[in-house]
């Protein structure tokens, strides 16, 4: 193995991939060849580094210099100035919005200062297509550890002790889930990775899979060992092409090295993983709907109980975990439950990956300890609201979460506190909305999503999500009346309490919370009123948004 004096890391995450980073990589390789730096500088295609708004990003090690919005035309200058002469290219450096100055190396950026990268520790650092790089960063060590030194029950105990809770949104204790599955009667058992990420505003699982696919495979194998399963499925959105490619490639190389398949590491433990694709149905993110879909049916949720750990995929005991949950596992095994518990809050230990989007300076992927406040995330990491606008509201946990206003920005973010505040931590999506937007228009967008994604199996969700949309659309169109708000509240109460699955049960959250905080703005639209934000045009008539999907 040859040592290199510098590494050029080019982000290949989907958000950066918009800008054809392959051209960047090619340009770097060409320039390095031309300058004969090729043997000493290595170009690495990595997963997401986080700063999606600034993409494509390039990080040059060992200094950790962060270049943003790099185009192939800039490559010559970076090579000749930085790599040859050691002078960073000032005009491409990351400009910290809060500090109003450029930042030489990325750890100086406020964007990174409050972050704790556990789940994302390899993202943007290693070449995700290289199992060697994963192994070099300690990958598959935890699998080796559990297979050679731990009893299955000990693994379950370690996960239980860590206090890890499901990162898909519900926050169910992962150790408990594993214990139920381990105890359940019935063979075979399955491990399913829920990568059907569909919550609007959420793209963490996509970027984790793109940036560190082996972590998921390792975690699934650990889970299989702990629960007695020998087969795993990763159910992933059909739209996530790069993740799918990365996963398939990772499975292939792991099998080649005997880290998956028969007799892993010579321990006699067998575990296989397959990738299965969704076909466009948000509801398949609900675990039992996912099973239905994986089995080849309509992705409609099942009645619970029985729970998946008793009767899941094909009626067998099944552990189903979210990508981010699984991504924490190898670290918990490696560093121990106590270490994990030292992060985050007592009720929700560990870190959480959030995705920032909407009206915020730094959109992208971040990982922070549980319990951080929304204000810190928005203003310190996220760089605040762009364009001199004011913060109006944030939607936490994706569209199925609720909304919070300025007053709630100092709440510590964890499952229980957020739920108490009437919203949800959920998938970790943070959609920031500034004061140029109309609450009715935004709420309509939420409602439209649920109308479109309701599976249609249970009556209240099937009919109720459509009604939510129609009523809000009517208000936006100037056809609203106080009665409509009563109806929205009635519907919200019904939807919150009665549907078969969480899709319908959470559909009213954004409506209930926006109604709670912005009722006068809804009311302003009534009759011949106007939209205070000037977004909903044509009062009295149908707006553009009224058209069907």
């Amino acid at each position: 193995m040859q040592l290199q004096r510098a590494h050029v890391l080019v982000c290949h995450g989907t958000n950066c991939a918009l800008h054809a980073p392959q051209a960047l990589v090619d340009a770097f390789r060409r320039a390095l060849r031309e300058t004969r730096l090729e043997p000493e500088v290595r170009v690495v295609e990595t997963g997401c580094f986080g700063l999606c708004e600034q993409g494509p990003t390039v990080v040059v090690y060992p200094e950790g210099t962060l270049y943003c919005r790099v185009s192939p035309a800039d490559v010559g200058e970076i090579v000749s100035e930085h790599l040859l002469k050691g002078r960073p290219v000032g005009r491409l450096l990351y400009r910290d919005p809060a500090a109003v100055k450029t930042v030489q190396t990325f750890p100086e950026a406020r964007y990174f200062q409050k972050q704790v990268r556990v789940v994302l520790r390899n993202c943007g650092v290693i070449d995700p297509s290289s199992i060697e790089e994963y192994i070099a960063r300690g990958g598959y060590l935890s699998l080796g550890k559990v297979l050679t030194t731990m009893e299955p029950a000990g693994v379950v105990q370690a996960v239980t002790d860590s206090g890890l809770r499901g990162r898909g949104g519900a926050g169910f204790p992962t150790g408990l889930k594993w214990r139920f599955a381990a105890r359940a009667a019935g063979e075979p058992k399955y491990v399913v990775c829920n990568a059907d990420e569909g919550e609007p505003g959420t793209f963490k699982d996509r970027l984790i899979l793109e940036g560190d696919p082996h972590a998921i495979l390792e975690a699934m194998a650990i889970c299989g060992y702990a629960t007695g399963a020998h087969r795993g499925f990763i159910y992933i959105r059909g739209e996530y092409r790069l993740s799918i490619t990365m996963l398939e490639n990772a499975i292939k190389s792991a099998k080649e090295l005997g880290l998956l398949g028969k007799n892993i590491l010579g321990t006699g433990f067998d575990f296989d993983v397959e990738v299965r694709l969704g076909s466009g149905a948000y509801v398949c993110g609900e675990e039992t709907a996912l099973f239905e879909s994986l089995e080849g049916g309509r992705g409609e949720p099942r009645v619970k109980p029985p729970y998946p750990t008793d009767r899941g995929l094909w009626g067998r005991p099944t552990v189903i975990n979210n990508v981010e949950t699984l991504a924490s596992i190898p670290h918990i095994i490696e560093k121990g439950p106590a270490w994990f518990r030292s992060l985050g809050t007592p009720g929700t230990p560990g870190t959480k990956v959030f995705t920032l989007c909407g009206n915020i300076v730094n959109t992208g992927l971040i990982e922070v300890p549980m319990g951080i406040t929304l204000r810190e995330v928005i203003y310190e990491i996220g760089g605040g609201i762009p364009g001199g606008r004011r913060f109006k509201l944030a939607q936490t946990g994706g569209t199925s979460g609720g909304c919070v206003t300025e007053e709630l920005l100092d709440l510590p973010m964890d499952y229980d506190t957020m739920a108490k505040a009437g919203t949800a931590l959920g998938s970790g999506a943070l959609l920031i909305i500034d004061d140029s937007h109309c609450i009715v228009d935004v709420a309509r967008s939420f409602a439209k999503f649920f109308m479109h994604e309701s599976c249609g199996k249970c009556a209240p969700c099937r009919e109720g999500t459509r009604r939510l949309y129609h009523i809000i659309d009517g208000i936006a169109g100037g056809r609203g009346s106080p009665r409509d708000l009563e109806l929205l509240e009635l519907l919200s109460r019904t939807l919150y309490m009665t549907p078969l699955c969480p899709l319908g049960q959470t559909a009213p959250l954004p409506i209930m919370t926006t109604l709670r905080y912005f009722r006068p703005e809804y009311e302003a639209h009534f009759g011949s009123g106007v939209c205070p934000a000037g977004v909903c045009a044509e009062p009295g008539g149908s707006t553009k948004e009224a058209r069907a999907w």
């Binding site: 149905a281 309509r298 009645v303 109980p305 109308m451 479109h452 994604e453 309701s454 599976c455 249609g456 199996k457 249970c458 009556a459 209240p460 099937r462 009919e463 109720g464 999500t465 459509r466 009604r467 129609h470 109806l487 009635l490 519907l491 109460r493 019904t494 919150y496 309490m497 009665t498 549907p499 078969l500 049960q505």
Partner: protein
Amino acid sequence: MVTLTIDGQKVTVPGGTTVLEAARRAGVAIPVLCHHPDQEVKAVCRVCVVEVAGSRTFQASCAHPVAEGMVVRTNTPALREARRTIVELMLATHPDDCLRCERNLRCELQSLAEKLGVREIHFDRLVREVPGDRSSPSLFRDPSKCIVCRRCVYTCSQVQGVGILHPVHRGYETYVAPGWGRGLMEIACTLCGQCVHACPVGAIGEQDQTAEVWAALADPKKHVVVQTAPATRVALGEEVGLPSGTIVTGKMVAALRRLGFDRVFDTDFTADLTIMEEGHELLHRLKNGGVLPMFTSCSPGWIKYMEHTYPEYLPHLSTCKSPQQMFGALAKTYYAEQAGINPADIYVVSIMPCTAKKFEAQRPEMNSSGYRDVDVVLTTRELGRMIREAGIQFDRLPDSPYDDPLGISTGAAVIFGATGGVMEAALRTAYEVVTGRPLPKIDFEPVRGLQGIKEAEVDLDGTCLKVAVGHGLSNAQQIMERVKSGEAGWHFIEIMCCPGGCIGGGGQPIPTNTEVRIQRSKGIYQVDRELPLRKSHENPAVDQIYREFLAEPLGHRSHELLHTHYTPRARYGPPGGKS
């Protein structure tokens, strides 16, 4: 056993019981809609939600299992509001046309709205506009009334194994229909009508032909004769409010006379005749190495199922027409001759427990008399409707006997109405014909009852006859797969399309469920027990018809009038075409 508290009362029930069931034991009937006593839990309508202490959301009581110490409340303001809102949501997309709906006063949605005291629909009316289907002669579908409870889906797929009704599309656009917008007549629908029993509303029903019968009755030139299927006499009473399984044979005959039928005959007569023909066919096949096992061919849903699904096995079907069709053929030949009436003037109406019989009567080959053998088929429900419209006080009617000669029948024919009945009737006759000895015991218990597949062996003087009986097409499918595998070794198999046999037919009164089927079945065997003649070959009218008209079983005339052939059918035909 598990003890829980429901509305403040302690209830002890076996573990695994649902909250719904436990509440019923506590005297609380939680309202339900998608729930059906014979079906798996769906929990999709959410009308039966209850509060379970400790649970964030309400729970569907039909699906939620009891647990020790559970505290349940079934009647809080929030629950009432939620239930009512859910029903309002359904009603707001449901056509408000009770007054002209097939299921008016027999509609579960209507009675639910009444029970919950829904007095206002808070939501704008948004009726789903989906095309209806009147392609088949037996059934109509009106998906605009569908509440997507999926009970029909379950029945079609799980009970009947036919699988032509599915939820299509997604979300609020979901409704239940055959694929690609096809009509029932364009696909492998057996027209059994079991979906009608499953449907809580008027989204599926029989094609109503009462108007045609009223018109025929009013036409003085027409000589209108009616035949009544065995299973109708233990079910019709339900249409006029009598308990399930009440035997109303004499009152039914009287009512038919009141309606103006010129002759009231009995399909039981041709059921006896079927035993003669089919029995001899079986003996013939046994003797001459014919195709075995031989299947019964009385059930038109079963026949259509075979034509679609197992066309290569059509030679296994008995060539006998069903009793309904034998009757029609004889009414327009033998009876016409005897009564001296021009067969062109004879109009045959059947009262059948069956929707598929409407299709059967229209099959092009069913005209061996030179005319349509049967002109109109009415279901038991349609006859009930005619009786109600005519204002006949059914329970006050004096019992009236059938007319001669096509109204003379035996207990063997009556039991055609229940699963296993054809088999039992055939065995009663076959035994005596083959052995020449009277049967030691007339009741063949092994072929009776609601078990899905029944098997028996009968010793016919050294020949061991192996028989099987199946009802419900998913059981038929299992039998077919065993026949296919060649392991079974059966000689004779009775298949009835509908669960329970014809007493559970798709044209029977609503509701029809297991409980009701058991009562009707009891009625059937009681009629049999109480009849003086209980073997088909002892029927003097049958004896007479062979003497005067047919000559002998399987004879030339029988062949021409009483036997038929079958047509292989595709599972999906082209759009607009027939399958």
